[in-house]
Amino acid sequence: MNNCRPEELMISAIGDLLEDAAHIAVGVLSPIPGSAALLARARNGARVSIIGSTVPEFRTDGGIDLFDAAGQGRVDAFFLSGGQIDGAANINLTGIGTYPELDIRWSGAFGSAYLYFQVPKVILFRDEHSRRTLVKKVDFISAPGVSKKNVYRPGGPYALVTPLCVMMFDRIAGRFTLKSIHPGHSLEEIRDQTGFDFDCPNDVPDTATPDKDTLSLIRGDVARAIANPYPAFAAKMFGI
């Protein structure tokens, strides 16, 4: 592993998953996926729309337009997270306990219950890899990972990226498969920290670290661009 930081590794790993996405949308409060989208933009010329951004090149025509664009098939990739994510890629943004008077109430589903169906490549990102966040079964399905065959669903979960690993999601099997382990971590650690069962090939490679060019893009163009929507992140991560 070269001297890239864990966040930079995740940015690079997500960026590698975005290679064929021409239009990537990014929600609020997603600095690491947002940075990955900007990396894809710098490397492949992807168009990036950042919800809520006021920067002309990233902003959308408003929320309605962005959801409509996803409905039209004009958004290729998006990111979702969850207070809980389970092995069937169900996500929970609503809370823990029995609905509606939950023990812990989170913000709510936002656009997930729609975009998870419409966007072909939804990458799940979670900054904490633990049995608390990656659970056997979510308490509340804000948006389901898989749907019955007759449900119109051009989109869905594609991969899960955490501080420990990258997993790919099989929409037919409805299960995750471990794809790569971040350098410095182990399969045992991942099994230990994951609340759900997942598939695992015999030989799981290390997650590729960003090469020199990618790292300088991340620390250069990407850092400068992410500073507008996420000044605090850019300051902390890249010192700008």
Partner: protein
Amino acid sequence: MPETNFFTDVDALAAAIPDGTKLAIFKDSGVPMAAAKALVRRQAKGLHLVTIPTAGMIVDMLIGAGCVDIVETSGVSLGEFGPAREFANAVKAGKVKIMDSTCPAIYSGLQAAEKGVPFMPMRGLIGSDILKNRDDYAVIDNPLAKDDPIVVVPAIRPDIALIHVALADRFGNLWIGRQTELKVMAHAAKGTFATAEKIIDTNIMEDERLASASIPSLYVNGIAPAPRGAWPLEMPGQYDVDRDEMENYAKLSGSGDGFQTWITDRVFAKSVAAE
């Protein structure tokens, strides 16, 4: 058609929003913070808030102050300033009825009301617990295809859309800039009340640069002046978010006495609204 009322200030405007009003509030700038504080001051009760499609501090504050019976939302959060704890506490305590939704379902409901149709079909939602808990949503068979289940959401027709704009005129027209969702809100609601940073004497509709991004007086029932009316939130091109004030709210809210102190200091001590 409304003859647009011109209120002297936000308190006069808030006095014209009855208890129990189904009130639509937009997530982004301009957030009508000054008007919402006036609702708290007049101790409004039983509001049914519809957030378009999500909300932050404004809804958290109205809930914490006991003004709200129902909140229909796709998400409430203070964003980078943290969770909306008054909202979360009230939901957990069963003090407000929550109608959880997802952003495009709220937009679709508004657009149904805008078009005068009773429902709108939308993709997604099937298999979610959001759908399972919304008795007013339904899954139907697409009538123009086979074996294609699809959700229909009912029209959302707020009594009042409460918005904050940069510019209004003496004829009752509002300039909204790029925030086209405000137009959908005004169309969907029975009436629209607006606070404005500035009220001008010339007609917005006669200025081509402004007219293409405006809401005509046909939809506007009331306007009140509110300079810095989104504070402590930002008003694009005019002022930025007041981070200290937001952090102070994030710290004090959700903590009982702290929130009461904040309300006393920042809402009832009226002068701060114009800081």
